[in-house]
Symmetry: D2
Subunit: 146 residues, 4 copies
């Protein structure tokens, strides 16, 4: 598994807690930042009308390896690892930039829905094509299994 995209975040004071480390829930904020930057990198976010394409999260998980502290710079790697019929999966790796050590890994699963009915719909072919082109052979795709 390789990551072709990464972005960076610097830990802000309100993201730390009384234990002196980043509260684990804020890693989902970092994942969200990385997701948007990933889409932006692929031209999927327009400057004047940011895509608020509803692809709600149905699952999110993370493993925490080592703590991140105030003002640390974190490298957040992101990739779409899988596209199913009506969902797709993001995977993340967070590392401490200066020290190189792994901080966290994570995964979010998104459902492709119709903007009007909010019912699940097939992940659009245009989106599949774009991700396929970017992720290449690392992408596991439902359509390719048949």
């Amino acid at each position: 598994m390789s990551f072709k995209f990464s972005t960076e975040v610097r830990v802000r004071l309100p993201e730390t807690d009384a234990f002196g480390i980043v509260f684990h829930g804020y890693f989902y904020t970092y994942f969200d930042v990385a997701r948007m930057d990933y889409f932006r990198n692929l031209g999927l976010v327009q400057q004047t009308h940011p895509i608020l394409a509803p692809c709600p999260i149905v699952h999110a998980s993370a493993d925490f390896r080592s703590p991140a502290r105030f003002d640390d710079v974190l490298v957040v790697r992101a990739r779409i690892s899988e596209i199913g019929g009506t969902h797709f999966t993001f995977e993340f790796e967070v590392a401490h930039k200066r020290e190189g050590r792994p901080v966290a890994t994570g995964k979010t699963v998104h459902v492709s829905i119709d903007g009007k009915t909010w019912r699940p719909v097939r992940v659009p072919e245009e989106f599949r094509k774009l991700i396929r082109g970017f992720e290449g052979a690392d992408l596991s795709e439902e359509g390719l299994r048949h």
Copy 2:
């Protein structure tokens, strides 16, 4: 100046920071909680259709007297101190419940707007009447100055 309404919040871990105290920005969250509870107490929040009446904040300020820490219970007193032509002012006092000491005071100024045009409109008479009835002589009102 007396407060006729108060509510309580317990400090959550992600509201504290690496200094071991509540990050100052979260007091505006506590003020928002108190504001909703204040309106709920006056019957202004309906269970099935919570009022999202747009009365945007144009000013917010706070003075911080002493720190609040993880798991502390805070008493948040709230009152509408003033109603002007198109705005109204909330005032807050936060105290440490067990120790009694003052933690913070604050103020937010809200503009009454038309839900469609988002233009400022006169604070509705019905709202004035209700607040006047609750706050009594402590309320400073533009309408009463003339």
Copy 3:
């Protein structure tokens, strides 16, 4: 699997996002609130010296079933489902109080560590006893498997 403990949270405005629903990362805040309330219910949180016993989270996951919105009251059920050698697992169920519908489920895994060396240590016998007494037969325990 039954839950013997539950607590409630009311959705605050800053916990919602531009999609009009609770940002998924904040459910980990709700889980944290429930965890503290669970411990408090068992007498593990002292009023004057809140236990900041370091039991860092090494894994957190959640499944999201339906959205929660501003001012919704959520019931958060919590239980310790498993105690291993040096870790223990919390499970959560979040339901919409008024509508009854399931909103989310979640799981967090915690490591028991030495407060000085931050090295993993065996989950203390006193803690096991207390949880065993509260959770009863629903608790899966490493010590009981041998």
Copy 4:
């Protein structure tokens, strides 16, 4: 009043609320980011030991001119406008980068304290010198009034 320093933040999804705009309390997070970047720019933040020099906030206020939305890039200008005996004042201006319009202004007042006793102490001469050198004639300083 001119600003000699500015930094940028991009609005994250969890910073927006159900009204579709940045929750006002998060502007204090942006101010905090700008403050750290301001200090970093002056060499006051060491990479390996980030200064957690305790200079607690005793006052914070903000005026909100226009809304900021998801994914907007905001320019945050920061300056130290005043140094008193034991306190100093930061001022902020937030503008929408692409549209140029003013979004918010703000102010935070910090007390210089002794790291051990947490009692107010005179703002160190070294700090005054550095800020004086950077802000120049725009800085109002207590020491210069005598």
